[in-house]
């Protein structure tokens, strides 16, 4: 099952979920109606007997309509409200559980370890680095990922997980979360959360009603009580669905995590520590129940009527480590909470040199016993080679969303090979801003001067100075390291204030426009940045699936393939041959001519619009188009690094992360 089939499956799950939910709501309305009939029907009867008149005779149809309308109103209002508040993506969930956003340039040892693990995973799978949160109040070992897509994902771990787990174990846990992220589970989870909250609102109404006081209040008390019971039964059903969906996905995620790190002992070690720690994986937060299906391990104190959201620990460990004897090691929690470490700053006696600041992330211990180049602090390390020879088109598509151990190793090496100055820049908002701008600067001195002037005008002098400062370093960065660097810079860029983001957007657009050479790779880079940041600053502009067939997109496919072909070959004849190879793979599906376009008709604005439309199509269409692009790129046996990166960039804009290409 490849990435696209899994996406399709996640979509079908969602549809099924909606069907279940509609059935559940219908049953709930029925139940509420029954209660209303019993209670108020009883009153009617009593009144009728007492007064022997039938003035307030109720038509049952009216009563049914009234109950149905109010029940439906309550449930949909609740669901709508919750879905709306979750529109901000993963961070909404992380903040709900009192998560603290970890600074991307943090120098705290534990935080740095966590950030490094997350960053390496992101580079290895080709997705932007998610926001990382720590739940300081939680001593247990647990973690979750949430979000609609890779752009707005947040990974959140408890303080216990951050401090108690070794790097290997943490890597296992984070790899597990990444597999949720890449399998499209998170979107499903968010939807589930919104729907269950709607049902929960019934019990809220019930609680309001049982507060009713007065002479004739008893029917309301009864109704309130009934609503609470009905609501809870409804939530129980919701949880049932939740648990069923979640449990099967946990095993899948464990398996993918092992495939990713090829180190089952790391993940098994984390699970064993959960079994041994006094706090286990429990969460203190009162809101844990709402999000229990997001977690790495069972987050609730007691299982919900036996419907656990996660398979038993022993079973999960046995699947990873068959020699497990069922004995958990004792894990001692550190006495002092690791948060609120006192700042070691003040009180430097005059004219005494303090210890040098921890300038760089400490090199992490190697996750695998393979030889790794030692980090070279000041000398530029040799550029990492990209396999220029043969990347088979089949492996490109098969690798999407399914990174392997080799990719992780590559990511670790790349992470360490990036010059320290650039690393620091990528982790700081101003530095990241400058880094993206520096990527867009022209080689030519005169043109660059003009661009810098424009940059200063659009933003501030600080940005211009910082861009000039890092430009010499940026120049030496090879094409294949640029997309990973942009992915690394995204958490820092998400911390821009909305006003700063507007300036950033204007500056980037101006830099692209002032650069007379239309470089498709630079253009794709800025498109990636903007697309991922737009979900942060404009959550309402989320793309929805609009195209279910390739036919309306035939011209867009032509633009995309022609542009890819031109980028790969100087010679028009060769370009057209490459295009023909790509178009052929699509032609059978589209049953229409994919037009071969002259360069003037597939310029950057056209390309941009075409990509936006493909981003709104079904996973299978994306797969076909990407396959065609891969065919075009692999036409000549020689894949230039730049060409390969353009392909990765195109895949990224379609939300289909391709892991980095490795040396053959």
């Amino acid at each position: 099952m490849d990435f696209f089939e899994r996406q399709d499956k996640a979509r079908r799950h969602t549809t099924l979920l909606v069907v279940y939910f509609v059935v559940a709501v219908a049953l709930l309305i029925g139940a509420v109606y029954l209660v209303v009939v019993v209670i108020f029907g009883g009153i009617e009867l009593k009144n009728a007997v007492d007064q022997t008149t039938t003035t307030t005779s109720w038509s049952h149809a009216k009563m049914f309509l009234a109950t149905a309308a109010s029940t439906l109103g309550v449930i949909s209002a609740g669901s709508f409200f919750k879905t709306l508040s979750l529109a901000r993506g993963g961070r909404a969930v992380a903040e709900l559980l009192d998560g603290r956003l970890v600074n991307s340039n943090s120098t705290d040892g534990n935080e740095r370890k966590l950030l490094n693990v997350v960053e390496e995973m992101a580079i290895a799978s080709g997705v932007p680095v998610p926001q990382v949160y720590v739940m300081d109040g939680e001593a247990g070992i647990n973690a979750f990922a949430a979000g609609h897509s890779a752009s707005d994902a947040a990974i959140s771990v408890t303080r216990g997980a951050m401090t108690l787990l070794t790097r290997d174990e943490l890597q296992g846990v984070i790899a597990h979360e990444y597999s949720h992220l890449l399998n499209g589970d998170m979107k499903l989870n968010l939807r589930l959360m919104g729907l269950i909250f709607g049902i929960l609102c019934l019990t809220v109404i019930g609680r309001i009603l049982i507060r009713a006081r007065g002479k004739n209040a008893w029917p309301f008390l009864l109704l309130g009580l009934a609503l609470i019971i009905i609501g809870w039964v409804g939530v129980l059903f919701g949880r049932l669905i939740q648990a069923a969906v979640s449990r099967q996905r946990e095993f899948l995620a464990d398996a993918s995590a092992v495939q990713f790190t090829r180190n089952p002992l790391g993940l098994a070690g984390a699970l064993k520590k959960i079994g041994g720690a006094s706090e286990g994986s429990e969460l203190q937060s009162a809101r844990a129940e709402e999000v229990s299906h997001f977690f790495f391990a069972n987050g609730l104190k007691s299982e919900f009527f036996g419907f656990a959201t996660h398979p038993p620990l022993e079973e999960r460990i046995k699947a990873l480590d068959p020699s497990f004897d069922g004995k958990f090691p004792r894990v001692v929690l550190p006495d002092t909470p690791a948060q609120a470490a006192p700042p070691p700053l003040p009180g430097v006696s005059p004219l005494v040199q303090p210890p040098p600041p921890p300038s760089q992330a400490q090199p992490p211990p190697p996750p695998l016993p393979t030889a790794k180049p030692p980090p070279l602090p000041m000398v530029r390390p040799p550029p990492l080679p990209v396999g220029p020879a043969t990347v088979a088109q089949q492996t490109i598509i098969a690798d999407i969303g399914r990174p392997r151990t080799e990719h992780l190793q590559y990511a670790v090496d790349l992470h360490q090979a990036v010059p320290p100055a650039i690393q620091t820049a990528a982790h700081d908002p101003l530095g990241a801003h400058a880094l993206v701008c520096a990527f867009l600067l022209a080689e030519d001195t005169a043109a660059r001067e003009k661009q810098l002037e424009e940059l200063g005008r659009r933003t501030s002098d600080a940005v211009r100075q910082e861009t000039i400062r890092i430009w010499p370093e940026v120049q030496g960065i090879p094409a294949h390291a640029r997309i990973p660097l942009v992915d690394l810079a995204l958490p820092a860029l998400r911390r821009l204030s909305p006003a700063q983001f507007e300036q950033f957007r204007a500056a980037v657009n101006a830099l692209i426009a002032s650069d007379n050479q239309t470089d498709i790779f630079e253009f794709m880079l800025q498109k990636i940045v903007m697309r991922h940041l737009d979900t942060r600053f404009y959550p309402e502009r989320r793309p929805v699936t609009q195209y279910y067939d390739l036919r309306p997109l035939v011209r867009d496919a032509g633009i995309l393939l022609s542009a890819t072909a031109y980028a790969g070959a100087e010679d028009p004849a060769r370009a057209q041959a490459a295009f023909a190879k790509g178009a052929e793979s699509l032609g059978r599906i589209a049953r229409a001519e994919i037009p071969w376009l002259p360069p003037t008709e597939c310029e950057l604005p056209h390309l941009s619009a075409a990509l936006d439309r493909f981003a709104q199509s079904l996973p299978q269409i994306k797969k076909n188009v990407l396959t065609a692009c891969a065919e075009t790129v692999t036409f000549d046996a020689l894949i230039q690094p730049r060409e390969a990166e353009i392909l990765r960039a195109i895949a990224d804009t379609l939300d289909c992360p391709i892991p980095p290409f490795l040396q053959a």
Binding site: G73, F81, V348, P350, R495, S497
Partner: protein, 197 residues
């Protein structure tokens, strides 16, 4: 229609409740956001406080006659570091932020004096360690001002939200106080050049 009106009342009650929860949550989110934005300033300020003693140490050998200035720099740096520690514990707190503002302004003033002094010593200006440190300091300074802008934007958004109707009905009872901006007076702007006739 008695039952329908009951249902209506229930729905209206739910909407009111949802409104209160929503307003409360939005205030919490915005408060977290400016506190988070402060942590970004905190990182850069600490970096700066670490760099300054190095700078003084390097300059000491050349500026032996300017001990007073160097000690003033260290004193101002220590004062600012203490003020920052206090502000970091409770970002947005009016007195802590004001204290930090004045400490930072003072530090900016003496640093300016130190740089002006250094101009008069060509050997010091040519020292590569000094050059690197000064470059690093300028860059950190830029990062502070950038992070400060983000923090002030976040504070403004929070303060506006807490003052506008209808969120202001929630802000009072739930104790959402106003947050303080972080402004640094540029000494050169404040002290107009003295002209004597």
């Amino acid at each position: 229609m008695f039952l329908l009106s009951c249902g209506l009342i229930a729905v209206v009650a739910l909407f009111l409740l949802i409104f209160v929860i929503g307003a409360y949550n939005s205030l919490v989110t915005l408060r977290n956001r400016y506190k988070n934005a402060y942590s970004q300033i905190d990182v850069q300020l600490k970096r700066r406080y670490d760099l300054i003693p190095n700078l003084v140490e390097t300059a000491k050998g050349y500026l032996s006659h300017e001990r007073g200035t160097l000690e003033a720099v260290i004193a101002a740096r220590n004062a600012a570091a203490t003020a920052n520690t206090r502000a970091a514990q409770n970002p947005g707190d009016a007195s802590a932020m004001k204290e930090l503002s004045s400490a930072e302004s003072a530090l900016g003033g003496v640093m300016g004096r130190l740089f002006a002094l250094a101009e008069a010593y060509p050997d010091l200006k040519a020292n590569t360690t000094m050059l690197n440190l000064m470059e690093e300091l300028t860059s950190t300074e830029n990062k502070v001002s950038f992070a400060r802008q983000a923090y002030n934007d976040a504070v403004m958004t929070y303060n506006t939200r807490r003052e506008v109707f209808p969120t202001n009905l929630i802000a009072g009872p739930f104790n959402f106080g106003p947050a303080e901006l972080f402004v640094i007076d540029k000494p050169e702007q404040k002290e107009a050049p003295k002209v004597s006739f």
